[in-house]
């Protein structure tokens, strides 16, 4: 599904964040990426999203390079990325409007169409608003709803295109503890319902262990090695109260200290 092959990446006039870094993900996997601040975890996400390009090496998503963002990759950010001038409904419907805007646009060759799908209907928007529990808020503007509700809106918008890859960059880090747990649970449910490959960047050990069946541990830049902790129990019912959860948290804490 994702293949990161010996990439090198540096921001202008800064030391490289990745050097000869290689990592792969199978389809429908649930990944968490964790590491200290400035280690490049968000950068990795942006590279996979096609928002940044590596200086060397290659990134393939679904077997295709990502020179620009593709509509079948969903991206959810910490600050939600909602249009402040649009209601909850219009924020989600943005995908539908853009799909119609690009209706007549065709791509050459067999590369996947990067534009939003043009077949999205109001009924589908309604479905996702209901599934995310925000149907009652559809007339509200982002600054009239809570952080958790904004993130639900952003997730609904991402899932509307039925992506096969969902990238989340510290999506819950500005939310209070209960809302965060609530949305973590929802993320697990949605992944199980849709089979979407998820990659969640976090700096929170408990969150990484709860959400990531595989945990990629990044260290101080430049990242050259690939350190992965297998965590197959993540997502199973009652995982948070099982002894293995606490064990994995300890294991991850040690791995981070060593990284």
């Amino acid at each position: 599904m994702i293949s990161v092959d010996r990439i090198t990446f540096a921001y202008p006039e800064q030391p490289p964040v990745f050097r000869d870094f290689t990592w792969k993900s199978a389809a429908s996997a649930a990944w968490a990426v964790i590491g200290p601040s400035g280690c490049g975890k968000s950068t990795l996400l942006y590279l996979i999203a096609g928002l940044r390009q590596p200086a060397g090496g290659q990134i393939l998503v679904d077997g295709q390079p990502a020179p620009r963002p593709r509509a079948s990759t969903g991206l959810v950010l910490q600050d939600y990325g909602l249009l402040p001038w649009a209601t909850v409904w219009d924020n989600v419907a943005l995908v539908m409007h853009m799909g119609r805007f690009y209706r007549n646009k065709h791509t050459e060759g067999d590369a996947p169409r990067p534009y939003p799908r043009s077949d999205i209907t109001s009924a589908q928007i309604e479905h996702w608003l209901n599934r995310l529990g925000i149907a009652d808020l559809k007339e509200k503007y982002p600054n009239q709803i809570s952080g958790g509700q904004r993130q639900r809106t952003a997730i609904a918008r991402s899932l509307l295109q039925q992506p096969n890859l969902l990238l989340m960059d510290e999506p819950f880090s500005s939310l209070d503890a209960l809302t965060r747990e609530d949305l973590q649970r929802l993320t697990v449910e949605l992944r199980q319902e849709t089979g979407v490959t998820t990659l969640i960047v976090t700096h929170n050990i408990e969150e990484a262990v709860y959400l990531g069946q595989c945990i990629l541990v990044l260290g101080r830049a430049p990242n050259t090695e690939t350190r992965i902790i297998a965590n197959p129990g993540a997502g199973s019912p009652g995982f948070r109260s099982q002894p293995v959860y606490a064990q994995k948290c300890t294991e991850l804490r040690d791995a981070l200290a060593a990284a």
């Binding site: 928002l51 963002p69 990759t73 959810v76 950010l77 910490q78 001038w85 990067p114 939003p116 009239q144």
Partner: protein, 248 residues
């Protein structure tokens, strides 16, 4: 602003005017009733036409300024390199009181409508350009990233992000500048022309000491400014209701 409040404010202002007229008892300060009669008498006899001419000049200037300044601001707001090149020029031109160009414009464009429209256009263009540019440049990168990640290319970003993000700012700039625009129009119309409210006030009434008519002209010019202000204010609320959530 509630309609009732506006009405109340109008009544208070009229009362103050009436009071002053009673107290001072001067020929040069007729009361609102006398001016109202003059207004009713003068509208069909030319004042209406002068109002329309002035109104047309402002509206044409607004249209041209908006059509040119919004796209230019959008382009500058998105291209840091181009903005670095152009912003020193804008920095110099923006604060110049544009009215000083009036004699030059009259020389180049003549005394007809074009010079007046161009004059007001100059006044409106820079504030709109600057706010649209700054607004477009200040959009958070996360917002752009997340819309791009949905599959938006450059055109969709323009249509769905930059345009709706900047139009309200353009309207605010327009609303704030309309007072100056009408004031400058008054000045520009007060000589070397035969139409417009400025001409009516200065040449046709003040010049022949017809004070109630002069005041009728002043009322008409104020109404023009107020009308434009209200229209832009309404447009702003309609196109950017999210900016006024705390008002409601």
């Amino acid at each position: 602003m509630r309609r009732r409040d506006v009405l109340l404010a109008t009544v208070i202002l009229l009362l103050v005017w009436q009071l002053l007229a009673w107290l001072l008892r001067l020929e040069v300060l007729p009361g609102p009733a006398a001016v109202g009669q003059a207004l009713a008498r003068e509208i069909p006899r030319g004042l209406g036409r002068h109002f329309l001419v002035s109104g047309w000049r402002v509206v044409a200037s607004i249209a041209v300024a908006t059509l040119l300044a919004v796209p230019a601001g959008l382009i500058l707001g998105q291209s840091a390199r181009l903005n670095r090149l152009v912003s020193p020029i804008v920095y110099i031109l923006h604060p110049i009181p544009k009215i000083v160009f009036l004699p030059i414009l009259l020389l180049f464009l003549g005394i007809g409508d074009t010079s007046k429209v161009f004059m007001i256009f100059l006044i409106l263009f820079f504030p709109i350009l600057v706010v649209v540019r700054d607004q477009a440049g200040a959009l958070r990168p996360e917002l752009i990233y997340s819309v791009r990640s949905l599959g938006a290319g450059r055109r969709a970003l323009f249509r769905f992000v930059y345009l709706p993000a900047t139009v309200p700012a353009a309207l605010t700039a327009l609303r704030v500048s309309i007072g100056t625009a009408v004031a400058v129009l008054f000045f520009a119309e007060s000589f070397a022309t035969t139409s417009g409210l400025g001409y009516y006030i200065i040449v046709e009434s003040w010049g022949r000491l017809a004070y109630p008519e002069m005041y009728a002209g002043v009322v008409a010019m104020s109404a023009l400014g107020l009308l434009l202000y209200v229209v832009v204010d309404r447009l702003e609320r309609r196109m950017a209701p999210w900016m006024f959530l705390r008002d409601t």
